[in-house]
């Protein structure tokens, strides 16, 4: 860990030295993000373009490691009074940073105070309220938004003579044929996100009390009904029959067999699109995350995954003005379209989506549109999102217990009982940290 941080800080220091010379009059602002590799290059490109587009502000992006590392670094810096102006925080960390009253300037307030026009209706429906408070005020600016979608190995479909499934019932019908054709029929890549959270959203099922946690941390408890237990009972059966593959908690371990052409259907992120297109040597397509037709009211929009940008508090007015100006730049249709095109993350505004359509992006690459279409499906009562604290640990509990289900160490019923017990305990502990 330590060596990675050292390298990261050396790179950051070098980046700071490189930019400070060029920008004395401009106000310097920093942006801590968690976008590595190809995504990091696009982030750097956006920052360079932004700095070139105006003279008043100079933005320095700093890569701080993974999502958890970035949030932890931001917290440590905040306590030391050295927080960055803008920090990228992922979905599971949203409750932590929003719950800490006074850690951030709500993005809606920040934009309005600095004369940037803001209308929450400009944002596409699926991303609008995930990082908002219970009154619908936007706190964090949705940045890299993704949806879990089903990637399809077209060769496998052809070989087995089947069509890609829309529902899990259809999957059950075709899975034996895919297996016969020599493929592992289905693999997922992130159990909490794809099989729990978005199982809830795709079936419009309540995830937690207190309006999925948005109405306050005190008394929030997880809700697990029959549908999700049935789903895991089915998944365990598929696993035992060789119709489903499970390779642990690591994302890459589960993606690799699909990339190698061994897997027929893989549930990944809409943001995985660019990477897959570069890697695989078979034709592939994508469709919506499947749902159980048997569950009434299913086929609703999914939650957004990914992360949002937060403006941290305790900064001068000039710096806040620059943060607002960067947010304005970032949400402009051209920049959003570029981000969408280069990375596969969905554009966050309607205008950017229109621009991508007009440009013919989806005629060239139809799979790129699946994510945003899924987020634009009819909303339900429970599809807005969820807000739960210590959520990283709750996800760890899910991974642990659901992993035990797949390895046969526990039953589905017991696993969800433990997830609820441990999760509720974490939620009530979190409530004590903020509601006092």
């Amino acid at each position: 860990m330590a060596y990675r941080k050292t390298v990261a800080s050396l790179v950051a220091a070098a980046a700071l030295m490189g930019t400070s010379a060029a920008s004395y009059a401009a106000t310097d602002i920093t942006w801590w993000h968690a976008m590595g590799g190809k995504l990091g290059e696009v982030v750097n490109q956006i920052s360079t373009d932004y700095n070139a587009s105006q003279d008043a502000c100079s933005l320095t992006p700093v890569y701080k490691g993974g999502y958890e590392d970035t949030l932890t670094a931001g917290i440590a810096a905040f306590r030391a009074g050295e927080q960055p102006n803008i920090i990228q925080v992922f979905d599971a960390g949203a409750a932590t940073i929003i719950g800490a009253k006074g850690a951030v300037e709500p993005v809606e307030d920040l934009l309005k105070a600095n004369g940037v026009p803001f209308d929450i209706e400009d944002y596409i429906a699926g991303v609008r309220y995930f990082y908002a408070d219970s009154d619908g005020k936007m706190i964090g600016m949705p940045f890299n938004s993704s949806a879990p979608i089903l990637y399809i190995n077209d060769d496998a479909m052809k070989k087995a003579g089947v069509e890609a499934p829309k529902t899990y019932e259809e999957f059950e019908a075709i899975a034996p044929k895919l297996k016969e054709a020599g493929y592992i029929p289905l693999v997922q890549s992130h159990l909490p996100w794809e099989f729990v959270e978005n199982f809830k959203s795709r079936h419009d099922l309540q995830f937690a009390t207190n309006n999925n946690g948005y109405d306050g941390a005190t008394g929030t408890e997880l809700v697990f009904g029959e549908p999700i237990k049935n789903h895991f009972t089915a998944a365990k059966k598929w696993l035992d029959e060789g119709l489903f593959g499970y390779y642990g908690t690591g994302w890459g371990d589960n993606q690799q067999p699909f990339n190698e052409g061994k897997v027929a259907l893989w549930i990944g992120s809409s943001g995985s699109f660019g990477g897959i297109a570069d890697t695989v040597d078979f034709p592939f397509s994508a469709t919506f995350l499947p749902y159980w037709d048997a569950v009434e009211g299913a086929n609703t929009a999914s939650f957004i995954g990914g992360a949002a940008l937060f403006a941290m508090s305790g900064k001068s007015d000039e710096e806040n003005k620059c943060a607002a100006s960067f947010f304005e730049y970032l949400t402009s249709p051209e920049v959003q379209y570029m981000w969408h095109r280069e990375t596969g993350y969905v554009p966050v505004t309607e205008a950017a989506y229109e621009l991508a359509k007009k440009d013919g992006h989806y005629e060239r690459t139809p799979a790129a549109e699946v994510g945003i279409q899924q987020l634009s499906l009819p909303a339900g009562e429970w599809t807005k999102g969820y807000r739960m604290g210590f959520y990283v640990q709750i996800r760890d509990v899910m991974n642990r217990e659901l992993g035990k289900v797949f390895s046969g160490e526990t039953s589905v019923e017991d696993a969800f009982a433990t997830i609820k017990a441990d999760g509720d305990k974490l939620l009530s502990r979190f409530a004590k940290t903020i509601d006092n």
């Binding site: 306590r79 800490a100 390779y247 908690t249 991974n399 642990r400």
Partner: protein, 312 residues
């Protein structure tokens, strides 16, 4: 009379050192002055953080530091009553025991054999020692490559014997990989110390013993091993500490920071809850418990075990 094969009675060879000369400073200030840097370092890097950990273990605090609630012993109660904590503690015990025993045992065997090598001794020793220079995360990385569930050569090898090894999916397979990587990383340190310990045993004692006793195996247990005891005791402490704390890097790389349904040690759990989950109170309570464990362990080691060890 020297008896290296004393039947049922065990003989001890104790070489007494010269009585220590008494040395004293002229002014009482100088020793304190000389000690000051060390004490300052201990205070800043251990006492202060430790006190901070004890303080925050009694609070539930929002990570950004806006609010904190005094919760008494709730953090400790939540920790020890959690079923997962018991599971993690059990694994830590087993892990520490196995890593210590295996790495000490393997290193001792290698050192005894290396001590007897006459030709090419230095290249043989270098080959055994080089792993010492490998950083723990790198050791973990090499381990993860060897044990990778898709391409790892070890996984492919054991598959020939029908063992479907899946690191990261199967709890015991992951534990196996962690233990192997940790032992592999620690053997060279132990080897170096054991070898120098062996070379410190005087030739005359060894010759006398070999006149008395023909069985090399018994000679080892009655003469060499007791004389190695101080080294062994030192290494025992070092290895327990290593298995408890320094294996963090290996575990982190094997798990790719996603614990899932995999074994973790108590130290790694402190990291997961505190730095990944931002639960400062719970994490502090766990580290205070860990501090107590180390404290008790230290007392046991020095009170009970050291009495049986003779320093030359």
């Amino acid at each position: 009379m020297w008896r290296a094969c004393p039947g049922n009675r065990k003989a001890r060879y104790v070489v007494r050192g010269e009585a220590m000369k008494k040395v004293q400073f002229n002014t009482p200030a100088i020793p304190y002055l000389l000690l000051f840097p060390q004490i300052a370092i201990v205070a800043v890097f251990f006492l202060w953080p430790a006190a901070e950990a004890v303080r925050s273990s009694f609070y539930l605090e929002d990570p950004f530091g806006f609010g904190s609630t005094f919760v008494g012993f709730d953090n400790f109660i939540d920790t020890v009553t959690s079923t997962n904590y018991a599971r993690v503690a059990r694994f830590t015990g087993v892990f520490t025991f196995l890593v210590t025993v295996l790495s000490l045992g393997a290193a001792l065997l290698l050192a005894v054999k290396a001590d007897k090598v006459l030709r090419g001794a230095s290249s043989y020793k270098t080959l055994l020692m080089w792993v010492y220079a490998v950083a723990p995360p790198v050791a973990g990385l090499i381990g993860i490559l060897l044990f990778d569930q898709h391409v790892g050569p070890i996984v492919k090898f054991v598959a020939m014997f029908g063992w479907h090894m899946q690191i990261g999916v199967d709890y015991y397979d992951t534990a196996f990989a962690m233990i192997i990587a940790s032992v592999w990383k620690q053997i060279p340190v132990n080897f170096i110390f054991f070898l120098s310990g062996l070379q410190g045993i005087s030739k005359s004692v060894q010759e006398a013993a070999s006149i008395d006793c023909r069985s090399g195996f018994r000679r080892f247990w009655t003469v060499t091993f007791p004389l190695l005891a101080p080294t062994g005791f030192f290494l025992l402490i070092i290895n327990i500490t290593y298995a408890l704390f320094d294996t963090f890097g290996i575990i982190d790389v094997v798990l790719k920071t996603e614990p899932g349904n995999n074994p973790v040690t108590l130290v790694y759990k402190v990291y997961l809850d505190g730095f990944r989950g931002n639960d400062l109170g719970g994490s502090s309570a766990q580290s205070v418990l860990l501090m107590l464990v180390v404290f008790i362990l230290t007392i046991i080691q020095f009170r009970l075990i050291e009495r049986r060890v003779h320093y030359t």
